[in-house]
């Protein structure tokens, strides 16, 4: 084991904080948990271990085996084989976020292309090299807004239609900031709130307004009027996106977003039980010095040859240090690369085609489900590939029946929104065949009769 400190150094440190021994530092952990006796079975041979793990893994039911209608932030899309094949190249697979950028030209070029694709997709001027996931990217938008106003604007308005996990992460990030107030998504807030319902919350003390597009319920709104209202108050406007929807709909740049964040998972990244995913973060050029994370730029060397550099990044880590507004200095390099390969393979038209397939299949499903006695569609707004269904019995029960028929049902909204018990969020992608959808409807109808 590598231990960077000598015994003398450790003693000095303990003395200066007035603690007798290293063990004392762990007093907060109840002693019975400190060195528990591990009751482990006999060691297995490799062959036995492999057999046991295989048996365990066969007990899983994944989106590959089931017809998947579960979304709520992670979506089941087809991933062309070339994505995996390219990201598994050793040069990419083993490279960490470039700490010695000049000798990592391939990695930098991939990130530069990722940034270019994301700015195009979102309608923004500049994108960073990515964050961990949609939730952390959303939280970074709040940190940026806080510092943009130097802490003088203290109100953060969150629409209740933003993914509950993003809102929770944002709150966690803002915990250490004094005087901050996060409003809009209180437990009693109307979950179906429309953009104009947020107007009354926006004032001169507002730093940031965050909405989602499509929102957590799959709905699509034009946020132009809201953006205008936010800007009249001098605040910033952040939009959390599903990038797949941007293949089809107006970009947030077009309706006036200052910051676009989002979950990049739909762009060629497997659902993988929740991660690793990809946090998209893009903004307008006037905020380029306020963004966190890494940013790759293209330049020329002394001989005029094209080269890539980590633009502005030395700034946070080596120059601004304690003055930096964020000290995020990593990115999801490999996952950003996967999305870059995915977007490049599909191209502008391909992405639009996937989005259209999702849209049309989801609308076919919604129409059929809405016609089943006992079920109704309840969010009265245009939607992309996800929609809300009010069910006659608890979602949990329905999902158990669906699972018996090889169908992974929708998301139970009662978990996050107490007023939405018996409401199921159903996602449909290009992966769902007409037969899948018809089967889903059959089972739903069967269940409602019970």
């Amino acid at each position: 084991m590598f231990v960077p400190h000598t015994d003398t150094e450790r003693e000095q440190m303990l003395r200066s904080i007035g603690v007798g021994s290293v063990e004392k530092l762990f007093d907060a952990v109840p002693s019975k948990y400190r060195f528990p006796k591990l009751d482990l079975p006999q060691a297995l041979t490799e062959m036995e271990a492999m057999q046991q793990l295989t048996d365990l893994s066969l007990a899983n039911e994944s989106a590959r085996d089931l017809a998947c209608f579960l979304g709520a932030g992670a979506y089941n899309h087809y991933i062309p084989a070339a994505v995996d094949s390219i990201i598994r190249r050793g040069e990419f697979l083993t490279a960490y976020t470039p700490y010695q950028p000049e000798v990592s030209q391939g990695t930098l070029q991939a990130i530069f292309e990722y940034q270019s694709l994301i700015t195009n997709l979102t309608g923004m001027d500049v994108s960073n090299a990515s964050h961990y996931d949609g939730a952390t990217a959303t939280a970074e938008a709040a940190v940026m807004a806080y510092h943009n106003f130097r802490g003088r604007r203290q109100k953060f308005v969150l629409s209740p239609t933003v993914n509950p996990q993003y809102r929770e992460t944002l709150r966690t990030y803002l915990q250490g900031y004094e005087g901050i107030e996060v409003v809009g998504d209180e437990k009693d807030a109307d979950p179906f709130l429309r953009p104009e319902d947020l107007f009354s919350l926006i004032d001169q003390n507002t730093a940031l307004v965050v909405v989602q597009y499509p929102d957590f319920f799959g709905r699509i709104f034009d946020y132009t009027a809201l953006a205008q209202k936010v800007h009249e108050a001098g605040a910033l406007f952040a939009v959390a996106v599903n990038p797949m929807a941007l293949g089809l709909f107006k970009t947030p740049g077009e309706f006036g977003a200052d910051i676009v964040v989002g979950e990049g998972q739909p762009l060629g990244i497997p659902m993988s039980f929740g991660g690793p995913y990809l946090g998209i973060f893009a903004t307008r050029s006037e905020f380029v010095r306020k963004i966190s994370g890494r940013l790759v730029g293209e330049t020329v060397d002394g001989n005029g040859r094209r080269g890539y550099v980590l633009t502005l990044t030395a700034r946070e880590q080596h120059i601004r240090r304690e003055r930096a507004t964020s000290n995020i200095c990593t990115n999801q390099g490999l996952i950003a690369l996967a999305s870059t390969v995915y977007m490049s393979l599909l191209g502008k038209n391909g992405l639009r085609e996937v989005a259209e397939l999702c849209y049309h299949k989801a609308h076919y499903a919604a129409e059929k489900i809405g016609a089943i006695p006992g079920y109704s569609l309840c969010a009265n707004a245009p939607f992309f590939h996800e929609f809300l269904v009010c069910c006659p019995i608890p979602v949990e029960e329905i999902n158990l029946h669906l699972l018996d028929h090889g169908i992974l049902g929708g998301y139970d909204l009662g978990k996050d929104y107490p007023s939405l018990k018996n409401h199921m969020l159903i996602a449909v992608t290009e992966m769902n065949t007409k037969e899948d959808i018809d089967m889903l409807c059959e089972v739903l109808e069967e269940v409602s009769h019970e």
Binding site: R150, R289, R315, I319, R320, R321, R323
Partner: protein, 130 residues
């Protein structure tokens, strides 16, 4: 090193020019040379703000380091030099002219008494470089 005689100087390398009750603040020629190429100027106060002596009014970023600029005198911000956002290099080329940072309306000119004059600042700097 250029050290205009009509200005007052601080140990943290700010200069102040007093014109009636209006104080203009910037950083010195010595400071810009130490920082090297300035790439970003962030003025952290806005017109109408009340600032206290020794409080932060701007952060300058060079290719080597970031430095805080603190006001040597209390007052109300009258104007900030927005132009420097686009022309940070002016801090290097014209630290006493185009690169002024903020103008303050001051109430207590006696706060300036403790500052150095040009010759005191020059000898202060030459002692530091040894």
């Amino acid at each position: 090193m250029n050290t205009p005689a009509n200005l007052k100087y601080t140990q943290s390398d700010e200069w102040v020019q007093l014109d009636g009750n209006i104080a203009t603040i910037g950083i010195t020629d010595y400071a810009q040379e130490q920082l090297s190429d300035i790439v970003y100027v962030e003025i952290t106060v806005a017109s109408g703000d009340d600032v206290k002596k020794n409080s932060l009014v701007a952060t300058l970023e060079s290719v080597k380091a970031a430095a805080d600029v603190n006001t040597p005198v209390s007052g109300t911000v009258l104007e900030v030099n927005e132009e420097l956002g686009n022309t940070p290099e002016a801090v290097n080329s014209d630290p006493y002219g185009k690169a002024w940072l903020v103008k303050l309306e001051i109430k207590d000119p006696s706060e300036l008494n403790s500052l150095m004059d040009a010759s005191a600042y020059e000898s202060y700097c030459s002692n530091r470089s040894h």
